[in-house]
């Protein structure tokens, strides 16, 4: 009885998560599509101004000169505050429940599983599909530290740049901003799609500097999805 109830709960919760990720993707697309309409480009600022990580990129400039980097604004700090509040309460919940880039990566991984021969994937179960690939632990473990290196480099370079350090390489801009006006942006988009098909959530696991920032709060956040809930027991612990 408990198992039946918790299976239903788990499915409902996963459905809510899908809806939340869907809203995040649609919302980010709408922010990106604004500049395709006449007179809408400046409304609310550039695409970068809505990025939570933009706050970290522009923090040094703002603290030392009172000015934000180009394409960023004080709005970045507001969005970051929202993400920070989520992280203080529930660790990296933002990454799994609200991040549009994470959602796109999940969809690409799901598509890759179909390409790899799996018709229906049950979350948490070992997949039979050969795609997406799992990196060997010897490679996976050290690569997970790369995002912390990227975070450090971004903070370092943010002291010397006019634009946010990730402005030209950001996969969120490549996927959502509809501004693929450089060869580099096209390369980022193609690399992002290719690697996301090969390895599930490759950007989140190994490269995302926002994820590296939020990981700090995993240690202090009181609420998290209980591992026991994943195995169909509805126990949540504070």
């Amino acid at each position: 009885m408990t198992t039946q109830r918790s299976t239903k709960e788990r499915k409902s919760l996963m459905l809510i998560r899908k809806w939340m990720l869907g809203f995040a993707v649609i919302g980010t697309f709408l922010i990106g599509i604004r500049h395709l309409f006449p007179g809408e480009a400046a409304s609310g600022g550039a695409f970068d101004a809505f990025c939570p990580f933009g706050a970290i990129e522009t923090a040094w400039a703002y603290l030392t000169s009172g000015q934000t980097l180009k394409t960023t604004s004080l709005l970045n700090f507001a969005i970051f505050s929202g993400v920070l509040a989520v992280s203080l309460v529930a660790g990296r919940a933002f990454c799994g429940w609200m991040c549009p880039l994470g959602a796109v990566q999940e969809w690409l991984a799901s598509f890759a599983r179909r390409l790899g021969g799996e018709k229906r994937h049950v979350r948490g179960k070992r997949t039979k599909a050969w795609l997406p690939l799992s990196l060997p632990i010897g490679l996976d473990r050290p690569l997970r530290y790369a995002k912390y290196v990227i975070l450090g480099l971004v903070i370092l370079f943010s002291a010397f740049t006019v634009y946010p350090p990730l402005h030209s390489f950001c996969p969120v801009r490549a996927v959502f901003s509809f501004k693929l006006n450089t060869g580099l942006m096209w390369s980022v988009l193609i690399t992002f799609i290719g690697t996301s098909l090969l390895v599930e959530r490759v950007w989140c696991k190994y490269l995302c500097p926002l994820g590296a920032t939020l990981a700090i709060f995993n240690k202090v956040s009181p609420v998290r999805l209980s591992a026991r809930f994943q195995s169909l027991q509805p126990l949540w612990a504070l």
């Binding site: 919760l13 920070l84 989520v86 429940w97």
Partner: protein, 35 residues
């Protein structure tokens, strides 16, 4: 302490909205929105 699993999305959405609203109220907003 146990909490209802359904509260998890509500908690994170509320946390996001409260954090965002507080920061906007403190003046952290796009220059285009300032009155």
């Amino acid at each position: 302490m146990k909490i209802d699993p359904y509260n998890y999305p509500i908690i994170i959405i509320l946390a996001f909205v409260i954090g965002l609203t507080l920061a906007l109220a403190l003046g952290f907003q796009s220059p285009a929105w300032e009155s």
